[in-house]
Amino acid sequence: MTAEVSKAYLREATTGLVKEAEVWDSIVEQHLVDWETEWKPYRDMILQAHRAAGVSLLKWPQSRHWDWRNKYQCVQGMLSTPSFAVMCSGMTEGLMLLDLSLHRCQLPEQKGKHLVYVDFLEVAPWNWKTSIGHSPRYAGVGSLLLRAAIERSLEEGFKGRVGLHALPQANSWYGKLGMIDFGPDSSKSNLHYFEMPLDKIDSFIGKDG
């Protein structure tokens, strides 16, 4: 299985420079290797910094438990769970898993309709914004991935409808994008469920300028 690659751009946060990036429409072995050999050690370094600084666990990076290889192996070959990856300068910068079958829209005007559910979305730990002990490297990875989810939804005939459970530290971001916040979902560790209304889909992908 080969992935198709789309060209995109990221902002290097430290220098302000524009960097060419790639959005892959499937996670491949190389991305998992990057996760194991680059993401994990960096993540551990950040966690050590949090520990050394005595930061309350409640404020630690909230995706620290995720195991991408394990997750990917569980869904490999399944049509209902496409995956995406963002790469820049040969390094994996973000990973995402979608689900096309098991979730339906919650918004009253589109209730029960099919949507693309973002099962997992994570950026490389050096891009984490609220962690201590480092300056985030790239900005824009999360947007490229969310855009890919919306494009997949359009391709499936789901009209761009997307939903997700945001990590608490990301609630403000998805609110800023105009997604509707359904509040804490007790069936999902009280993460807030967000769904994008149709008019915000157009403005997000830039159709209305």
Binding site: M1, T2, A3, E4, D25, S26, M78, L79, S80, P82, L100, S101, L102, K113, H114, E155, E156, G157, F158, K159
Partner: protein, 71 residues
């Protein structure tokens, strides 16, 4: 994965075609999208059953569960 698509001809009875059209109307999806969605669901259910999971329907009011027996 690369999205090069293959075309096939599907022979459906009138009843099957009208069921497909009804679903297509109800879900606001074209017929191809409905069939793609059906295939995905079928694959998910089959994979879960192979793992030893069971499929249940739950009555919303009585909370009664009935196992869907899949052969």
């Amino acid at each position: 994965m690369a999205s090069a698509k293959k075309t096939m001809t599907l022979n459906l009875t009138d009843a099957e075609m009208s069921a497909l059209e009804a679903l297509s109307d109800k879900k606001d999806l074209n017929k191809t999208s409905i069939l793609r969605q059906a295939l995905r669901l079928y694959q998910v259910i089959e994979a879960r059953l192979e793992k030893g999971d069971k499929l249940y329907f739950e009555d919303d009011k009585t909370k009664e569960k009935a196992e869907v027996v899949m052969l």
